[in-house]
Point group: C2
Chain length 634, copies 2
């Protein structure tokens, strides 16, 4: 067995109920390393253009990296990828928890699910074996019930289960996959793809430990982490309050999306804060595999609503999505919404985005009470928000339309509704107001998976004293830059951070461990890969690995017909923000367009079309991608 | 004082006899790091396009790097740069020895020489002081006499002197600068620029030691070097025989340029071998500052010729240039030729190239005995070769024409002579036959300083078992490649090696220490820079530093009117090689041209023109270069 990986990738054909195994060579593992690179590799080669995301031809890939399974802070994640039903582009989503490590221990590095089962099934992957098992008894059930049923059936409480809820079964376009009931592959509708295959869950268990080349070096890295982590007050905040700890600061900065991105601040925002959560409904902390940070919280309340603690606590994104952006400023309500989303299996960001969109349509008279089935869909209506989650998950009444996501719903509604659908490429926008962080805006636009806040690590302020400048110095970023800058130095930074972000999704690493939290510089990632795999790697190689993945998936999208016109932002961000420190701020459209061109060009993409040039792909040692593009009929 | 550098750059205006000092900020030092980056920075900003290389407006820069002066194997070199009178492009040449370290100890990182002295002078740089001193007594003297005179005058035998000989004074276009009589800034005619400024020498002495951030880490790197170096038999060869040790292997491989690049092998080549040298005329070994390798040899003979040991021994390049390529197969004769070149101050590669060219012209009847002043310039005529060195150095008779270099001489001669002038951009071709190593051919062509064999580290065979694959794995080069390959994977390798080669010339590091000799991987360079400067650098940053330099100097050339047409090879290389294992081999011209386009594109240069694109320059954080280019009248 090699260091860092098993050397085995499984293919499960649900239509034929066949299981096959592949053993890629060592060059494959080093060149692609895992996560979105593995996914991009297989999807680009194996899916024809125009594949129906919810048809049996789509493939659903669960993959880890050459690091997964090694006990190390932040090393808990895995990637699920398929053509996305939400964006019709390459789709992927990462999640933490314990599933990834357990899956790796079972003997595989990835599993590619093909076809469609004739009736509900789940996969039981354990000790180098994969079984396709009947899941009729789980179908229609919540994630919580499903997990319990499968654990009981298999008689092992340590089994880790990634499953869909009713939303995935109903093919809600932003249905997610949930593991341990609170870790979520949220974005891009991977849960719907899983549902379309009649695949309810993947249960994993194994005892195979991953071989580490240099355990001492790894131990030293862990030690360094443990010694340094709490030195940064932001990390202490994360550990104490989790991501909800960011609410207060973002609200003060005027960057907390409110009322469907019309405002960036609200006087009641403190009611949604991590501080508020910790003094009211917080009952515990939980972490992911091998991670001492424990940024995940557990909440419980029997007040206004009963919130089941098994579904975890809302993250920052969820709080702003279901809370402030819907005009709701009660943490208990948000916690309930979070519980429902995890139970039914829906992405909270998209769910919140769709609800905020619906509320604005209602406010503007585009939707009337008769159309909403009697619900008064005003901003701030807590019960309406919670009701919508349920009707969307089960596609009841207007929920059936909203389950298509805000882009499609808006198109169908007409009457000017498109103006209020806050999405890029069909995916609802995360809760980071770009009018105060222009880099986030640009990266929302060019992100190959639709709007995503992790494409350039939040466009942090790289100031001498501020956030993370030391962390990017290994890249040769030596000067502080402004968040409202879209000039070439900034685009260079964003290009570099885009590669770094991609690298995270290749290695399936959590960003909350290293780079942006001032614990490690990027060089520690090099040491991490080196100590686990024994490869004499470098930051050059790792950045290129990240870049390779971006180009793979961008080319997938090119083949699907995506163009520069898709790399844009909702009109609202080119208009003035209301209230707060960024009052009146808008993203200047000309600057944005120029910046996009510069970004393309720096990426080695055609400035006019955004298509990766052959030489760039060849420089990334994926010339075969150009061959595929050239063979595709236009 | 910062770690690794003094923080001071001197300007000496010889016309006004003024000395100024500049103290660039720390970002300048980290961004450019030294050597060709410093040189490119100043030359591009300060020389107008069309500057006469031998006029007072040209600037001659002697520069070190942020590593120079720290005792470390291979860390002995410095860069001399100016607009080249040989190529009319950006010009530079590196040399080893002891001058670089001593200069750094004097308190400066670089000295920029401007203007022209009204009579011969030399610079005396010591202990943070620079004096302009009279050199009338040295003018017309050999390098040996000059060194002795200055040391006597200053009363310190430890002074290190870089000086020109009569060839530099006579503005021979390929005159060099010699330090310690045997270390040479050979290429690009830097000695002529020095001569044009009436600057005979720069004498240096200092006691300021360079501060090292992490001496322990540095010590460990040295230790590793000392323990590993001789494990590679190729290194033992280098240590025992020096570069002449390569003659035998290259001849056997059919890649030893012979008879002006018409053949690649010769039955008498063993007479030129390192083995032959070591059993005949070798009397000692010498090294460079802090380097245990001691690849430099000393020869002495009182046989056919008296060869003065103070001028060192011929390197491989010199042996093939003055030997096999002129049809001469006697190591003593070559040693004499080497002595003369070092004494008079002429680059042996260009000198040999010009002589071989002349011999072929003579053979073809383009030059007659009456034109050569009675010398019978046949291949193999030893005395003719030695006589030519002298008449070129002093510009006597036909030497005056040949002193212009083979390109200009051929143009003047007409009569088809251009066919035999083996040069790129006016600079004579080094002694590596490209028809057996296509990568070397491509890099000769695209090299910004004219034909140069160090632009991609010799296009080594990167085979599993062979040369250096482990060394480039940190770049993600994972598969062996063939030397006759010009496909995209090969161009990718060449692009990467081009950056590595450039990095050597930025850091002023010797290639015989690290990367190609299997002692260090590229990651050890990162550790080296880190341990000396304390910067948390990475291979990403270092590769970009190397790339920055290439782009700076390419843009210098663009401004001078260089185009794709200048990035080509002499016709001969597109024709069949005679004899040996590569009998009949030629570089396929179409493949070559396609490869050049791919290379441009991978470098971020316009595929049609080879001009660096603005986005590439901005990505390298030198957007100011684009501004300069755009301001230049076409």
């Amino acid at each position: 067995m090699p260091y860092g990986y098993n050397g085995k990738i499984a293919r499960v054909d649900l239509s034929r109920r066949q299981i096959k195994m592949e053993q890629p060579d060592k060059i494959f593992y080093r060149k692609y390393m895992g996560g979105r690179n593995f996914a991009g590799f297989f999807l680009l080669r194996e899916l024809g253009p125009g594949t129906d995301p919810l048809g049996p031809e789509n493939k659903l890939i669960f993959t880890t990296s050459v690091l997964t399974g090694v006990p190390f802070p932040g090393n808990s994640r895995f990637t699920v990828a398929a053509k996305s039903p939400l964006t019709n582009a390459y789709g992927e989503s990462q999640a933490g928890g314990f599933w990834a490590a357990e899956f790796k221990f079972s003997g595989y590095d990835a599993v590619i699910v093909e076809g469609k089962a004739d009736e509900p099934v789940y996969l039981w992957i354990h000790h180098d074996t994969i079984e396709i098992k009947d899941a009729n008894h789980c179908w229609g059930r919540t994630t919580g019930d499903t997990q319990q049923l499968i654990r009981e059936e298999l008689g092992d409480s340590k089994i880790r289960i990634a499953c869909i809820g009713p939303a995935g079964e109903k093919l809600v376009k932003f249905a997610c996959i949930v593991n341990d009931l609170k870790h979520v592959n949220g974005r891009n509708g991977m849960g719907a793809v899983m549902g379309s295959k009649n695949l309810k869950a993947i249960a994993v268990r194994g005892h195979k430990r991953v071989k580490v080349k240099n355990p001492n070096a790894l131990r030293n890295l862990s030690k360094l982490f443990n010694q340094s982590y709490l030195k940064n007050p932001e990390n202490a905040l994360l550990q104490n309050l989790g991501t909800p700890g960011y609410v207060k600061g973002l609200n003060a900065a005027g960057l907390l999306p409110t009322y469907n991105f019309r405002q960036g601040t609200h006087e009641k925002a403190e009611n949604l804060s991590g501080e508020k959560m910790s003094t009211s409904i917080l009952v515990g902390k939980e972490g992911c595999y091998a991670c001492p940070v424990k940024c995940k919280k557990i909440v419980r309340t029997e007040g206004k609503y009963w919130v089941d603690p098994i579904y975890g606590a809302p993250e920052y994104e969820t709080i702003a999505a279901l809370g402030s952006n819907c005009g709701i400023f009660d943490i208990e309500v948000v916690a309930k919404g979070n519980e429902l989303c995890n139970k039914f299996g829906m992405d909270t960001i998209s769910t919140g985005g769709v609800i905020a969109f619906t509320m604005e349509c209602f406010e503007k008279g585009i939707l009337t009470q008769s159309e909403t089935g009697g619900i008064e869909l005003k901003f701030g209506n807590e019960e309406a928000m919670l009701a919508l989650i349920e009707i969307i998950a089960f596609r009841k009444n207007i929920g059936n339309l909203l389950a298509e996501g805000s882009m499609r719903a808006a198109k169908k509604l007409g009457r000017g509704a498109e103006r209020f659908a806050m999405h890029v490429k069909g995916q609802e926008i995360p809760l980071h107001e770009p009018r105060g962080k222009f880099g986030v805006g640009l990266m929302y636009a060019v992100s190959p998976i639709g709007a995503d806040h992790l494409q350039a690590e939040h466009d942090p302020v790289f100031s001498e004293e501020g956030f993370a400048l030391d962390q990017v110095k290994p890249l040769g970023i030596l000067e502080p830059l402004n968040t409202l800058d879209l000039g070439p130095k900034k685009i260079r930074l964003l290009r570099y951070l885009h590669l770094v972000a991609s690298l995270h999704d290749v290695l399936d690493l959590c960003i909350f461990v290293g780079f942006p939290t001032k614990v490690y510089t990027l060089n520690h990632y090099v040491e991490l890969v080196r100590s686990i795999t024994g490869w004499e790697t470098s930051l050059w190689e790792l950045m290129k690995v990240g870049e390779r993945a971006i180009n793979l998936i961008r080319c997938f999208n090119v083949r699907e017909g995506f163009t520069k016109e898709d790399d844009t932002l909702p009109k609202r961000f080119f208009e003035e923000l209301k209230g707060g420190p960024f009052e009146g701020q808008k993203i200047p459209k000309e600057d944005f367009e120029r910046a996009r061109g510069t970004f393309y060009s720096m990426m080695g993409w055609d400035t006019k079309t955004g298509i990766p040039q052959r030489a760039k792909l060849e420089e990334l040692d994926i010339g075969w991608v150009s061959d595929i593009l050239e063979k595709t009929p236009v």
